[in-house]
Subunit: 345 residues, 4 copies
């Protein structure tokens, strides 16, 4: 069985495993107060070119998203997100569990725009309506598209104009940054938003994300917030050690090498599917593809390949999700394309 199911179906990059093995018997302080976490944080501050911020080593993406939301907002305040955004669509109401509405907006190819934010604000009235105060986006989006520098800049400007915080979910940030069409550097991204995270789980870590928060109001007692939201890892250093290994070398690190590889594999797959005139559910530029196939074809593919159906069947066609990752091998792409070629004839 070949896996295109997710970018978290394998363990970690061998260098990450090595680093964990090498530091295994060290004694350190707990809860992320150790030197590895501090060192990883310093590496990240250098990478993004901002020293005046805090970096937190978090267990996963949902803890990042929900803890930031809970730490940022007053009780009556709300988040605006695309309907397809992870925090709305795939976190089981974790945001609402902290008391905050996510105002869900139909995105444009998975993305929010200044106009969509204005439209959401048009529904805001007064003390009878939750007050939008944060914008949640993902880079790349859940459906693989990326914000250009111009798009992200316009969004950030609208946020400042409306007095809203801008938060960027970077679960697959590596794939956005190494995407051929990308023109937004990590330094620029960091400048434009209030907080974002560099995802490890979906790019070669065992687990863990590095959350960067610039805005003092969010940083205020943020470690209290992590603990309250059940996200403070006792052996917090495990995340620091992994990010040290992932980011050694900065833009030349294995972190970006792995992401570039995932993109390259996705491109090969996309090209192969396009040659066979397979339509796509979204216009993805990164490591997730959403081909739309006859349901019968999907049943055949499922015998050899493992992937998700992404949306309900319409007129006999069903969108599936194919994800490539750092561990995807060219032969696996070939096998998929060969098989689909055989089925489609």
């Amino acid at each position: 069985m070949i896996y295109f199911r997710s970018d978290y179906s394998q363990g970690a990059h061998p260098k990450v495993m090595e680093a964990l093995a090498k530091t295994n018997l060290e004694h350190t302080d707990g809860y992320g107060l150790d030197e590895h976490c501090q060192n990883a944080a310093a590496m990240i501050k250098d990478l993004i070119g901002i020293q005046d911020c805090e970096v937190y080593m978090m267990v996963g993406g949902t803890p990042c998203n929900i803890t930031v939301i809970a730490a940022s907002l007053r009780p009556y305040e709300a988040v605006i997100a695309a309907r397809s955004g992870h925090a709305y669509f795939h976190e089981t109401g974790g945001a609402e569990a902290t008391g905050h509405r996510i105002v869900a907006v139909e995105g444009v190819n998975g993305k929010l725009t200044p106009e969509l934010l204005d439209r959401a604000w048009a529904e805001y009235e007064d003390e009878h309506t939750p007050l939008p105060r944060m914008v949640y986006i993902s880079q790349p989006t859940e459906i693989g598209s990326i914000y250009s520098k111009a798009e992200m800049t316009a969004l950030a400007q609208k946020c400042r104009e409306r007095d809203m915080l801008l938060y960027v979910d970077g679960a697959r940030l590596g794939c956005a940054l190494t995407c051929k069409e990308n023109d937004l550097s990590i330094q620029e991204l960091a400048q434009l938003c209030d907080a974002f995270y560099i995802g490890g789980t979906k790019n070669g870590a065992l687990f863990g994300e590095a959350l960067v928060i610039k805005t003092p109001q969010i940083n205020d007692h943020f470690r209290w917030m992590i603990k309250r939201q059940c996200g403070l890892l006792a052996k917090g250093r495990l995340i620091g050690v992994q990010f040290e290994a992932l980011l050694e070398g900065g833009m030349d690190s294995i972190y970006f090498e792995m992401a570039a590889h995932a993109n390259k594999m996705a491109e090969k797959l996309r090209n192969g599917l396009e040659e066979r005139h397979v339509p796509f559910y979204s216009c993805s530029q990164t490591n997730q593809l959403f081909p739309v196939l006859p349901t019968g074809v999907i049943r055949e593919l499922e015998k050899d390949f493992f992937f998700y159906e992404w949306a309900p069947e319409t007129n006999g066609m069903t969108p599936i999700r194919l994800v490539t990752a750092w561990g995807t091998q060219e032969a696996e792409i070939d096998a998929f394309l060969k098989k689909i070629g055989e089925i489609l004839g």
Copy 2:
């Protein structure tokens, strides 16, 4: 200044005031455990023809909605509501404050349909998505339309099929029940849903709503829930006394007389506006009308009349809301129609 701003701009029907005055010096037990509340509950059970239910005297509509939501759902469960529904649109995230998402759906003339519920369910996946478990509707809706017997029956059936609870916000229930086009009796409504309330605030009470809950799972420790949600009134009898006065005589009570009057005043107003070819934002059958007028006309009207603008201006036209109530006088309608006639020429 003539008020068409709301159906809660005046105090209570004189008979309600009389009842409060008459019972003022009685000593009773607190928190709704008195004989007036019990008597009002018994009157309501008779009125709806269901004895096997509980009736709670609540301070207001938002406390009804939010307490029922909080009492009904497990933490990961969600409510489906029309985007225009009060619990979504005008309660400042009170539902989310109890940890629950409201999945907002564009309604059809303010109403949900079985198809819309199916579509909301199509987005439900598994443990990563909040589980829809309650449907919130208003009868009449926020924009004045009513569910016919066939529509409400179909909705209730879909709810049972999907294992969802059906809750009906009856803030203006009197106006639905006395609407000329209505074919759904209060007894039938009560049969079809799990819980609903008979609104007092917007139909001649000082304040207070009578919440009827049939389903044992919601009734379980419901008084604990009322208190926890800050809604237990010390002199709870005040609500019981008012409902005794409002509902004396059942379908011939002042409750329904007042609602019928409000509808009649609205009809006169609607007819007058239609004669002047004023378009409407929604197809209202009850005591709220939403004419769409040139913004300049609105500025003129505002000099003599007090009302809300309902939605943002589009192409120079703005929808306003005109509300009639038990205390609206025919001369006030005449004055409005005369004025608008003068302005429109």
Copy 3:
């Protein structure tokens, strides 16, 4: 049956009823944005001698307490209160429902002291422990005692030292202010705390409390908080109208007259019980008395009088609560003392 069960067993003072009747047919704006609420707020600002504050007309005491807690604290922050304090003991976890712990401390005669606050702080560590940030007290306390000027001043000073907010629940504030032993004026109280409320429900209103908030951080979007906590009354003016009637004349108003009467009735009762050597559960100085009686005696008394048992039986003795109010008549006290005299022999 004679009621010593609570100070909310009757309706409102006749002058309150008159004011409600007189204004009943007025049309006003809703949600407390009317002239009566504004006028009552202005009267209260004059009464307390502070103009730079906000006054909110609230439906009840629990909504005051919980909304203030929710509006004041960041998610990881906690309240310190006496174990007997209303917000801890009698609000069904309403504070926890907003996500905040109440650290319960055994009070000294129902009161907190600077030493008790220090002791609570000694348990505070770091990000693993909720951070105490508000002190909740009642004046008078739940068991009838009052804070002297020196005690309240010391507490307020400790709060400032520890960077904690001080909130005073004034459900029975009138009885504290008119208590013979009281040396703390309402102006001084208002100066010492961040927020407090003047209770109406337990002192001659139908319902309603006037909440005074001085501290900008709590006032920030407080009306959004009221709505979110389900406490915004549609006909908000009802509370304004009542407070206009209650406080007309300031310190010579019926508000203080009623409270003084309740205290006087309690004093007569206390004297009578002391003459009969009845011991007391607490040292009450106001309108609630907690005599401890043989359980058999209580069973006899219950035949003619209605009151609460206050705490579990110990060695055959049970504390009861006797409450006097604005409507308590001297003859009712006489009847009670006569009866207890007969029983005790």
Copy 4:
């Protein structure tokens, strides 16, 4: 610097690291739906002798505690715990963040008793008071003591009598089970409670706890609860793989070997301290010791050893916490005893 600071200052047992390395490149399904998690769950069901239960692989102890509390209780229900219990004392109000009070009770040597539960219930009244519905204990307790079979049985019986759920935090369960004085087997423990967890983080795992839930009401949609509480790990198999390695061989596995070693090291340390007549803050039977030392002595010790101060100084004496673990070496104990011998003279 020698660490007695915690039992989570090192990484994992070499066999755990090996298992992670060996399985690293396997592709599996995410979120704990893989074969390693299923296999570990089956091993645990066999170990505890109960097949009719669910086993969840959780990221940490706080996620176990808080998710179980949130999944078990209706909104108005509360937990009873010892004041020193982890869920009350060291989780930053995570329980309150889910809306539930923890009623904190002074324990007896860190333990709850049936009498203490009865006393907590004596404070429960009616709809004005949160309803105690779950008892939270730790085995061993936070201060190192263990419940005997008789004690745990009596507590479980009281819980059933009061219709309360019994939950056991087993962060250091291995140390309880391998303690010389222990007479309560894991099978018996599992029989007596509704849910408990077998702690990995503090006994040789990188991270992870195996949560066992027997009671259907808690198991209902529990994976939804894990996700909502931000605790669902993408590469969930990491925990399964670790528990496979930890528990291979059942009672003869490295899990119990490591715990026994930690206890043995603690015993040596305790004996050494007792010989020097050092008093203890609590009567610990497991791997945490709480000697009380002159603060000056502590300052000396801190130069070579790393540990926590546990409680505020009293009369010049301060309790500290010394923790041994699977990686503690006999020479480290000797060094500590030697040093303290030198200081105390």
